[in-house]
């Protein structure tokens, strides 16, 4: 299983990353991807992401290892941006390559659910001139708990 994990301010090209993953895996049947964006909402002018650098990459590696234990995966790419972003900007990319689509879908959703609830990133929004920290959502924890066993 080939894993690539990147955290940084740089934007990413979802198509190029998808193709790079497929090539690295030499003939997967399926690649599932997720791209998360800063939503365009009235009043929202920017989103700033901070993280715990020593922990965020380690934590994401642990999630990828856990996914590889649960499903037959050929490769995974996880990219998470940090810093100041604008509405419509890409935030996060998860791509999973597998021989069959079911594994690729499940592992991709699992990685997003874990990333949302365990990877040490925090968002603050600038809304109508005020800066507010984004609150964690119960539904994200419910989503992550589905994978417990």
């Amino acid at each position: 299983m080939i894993a690539e994990i990147r955290i940084g301010e740089c934007d990413f090209d979802a198509g190029a990353e998808t193709e790079a993953l497929a090539r690295r895996c030499e003939g997967p049947g399926a690649v599932t991807t997720f791209v998360g964006y800063v939503r365009a909402e009235p009043g929202l002018t920017s989103l700033t992401l901070e993280h715990y650098p020593a922990m965020s990459e380690r934590e994401m590696s642990r999630h990828v290892e856990e996914a590889a234990r649960r499903w037959a995966l050929l490769g995974v790419t996880v990219i998470h941006r940090v810093g100041r972003l604008n509405p419509g900007d890409r935030i996060v990319f998860v791509a999973v390559a597998a021989m069959h689509r079911r594994e690729a879908f499940e592992a991709c959703e699992f990685l997003m659910d874990y990333l949302k609830t365990r990877a040490p990133f925090w968002k603050r929004e600038e809304r109508d001139g005020a800066v507010v920290w984004v609150e964690a959502l119960n539904r994200d924890f419910d989503a992550a708990n589905r994978w417990r066993r």
Binding site: Y52, W122, W133
Partner: protein
């Protein structure tokens, strides 16, 4: 030990990291959080409600009853909101 703070915890306290000499009588993350709260000011507000805080020891998520040692890196932060 090294202490790290993130997001609104960092903003309330006013620093992102500091060195701390762990007293002998503090053996858990929770006891450490209580001692920090007792400093008052920004610490008192950051640690006002433990239910709103999460912690990591040496870059791993831990509950507040987890042990801490003198060479640990301990981080306090709100529930994460990435992705």
């Amino acid at each position: 030990m090294k202490l790290l703070y993130f997001a609104w915890v960092r903003q309330a306290i006013g620093v992102s990291e500091e060195t701390f000499d762990l007293p002998d009588d503090i053996r858990t993350v929770g006891a450490l959080a209580e001692r920090l709260r007792a400093r008052g000011g920004g610490y008192a507000s950051a640690f006002a409600e433990f239910g709103r805080l999460r912690a990591a020891v040496n870059q791993e998520h831990v509950p507040f009853d987890a042990p801490v040692g003198t060479n640990d890196e301990v981080a306090f932060f709100p529930p994460v909101t990435g992705g």
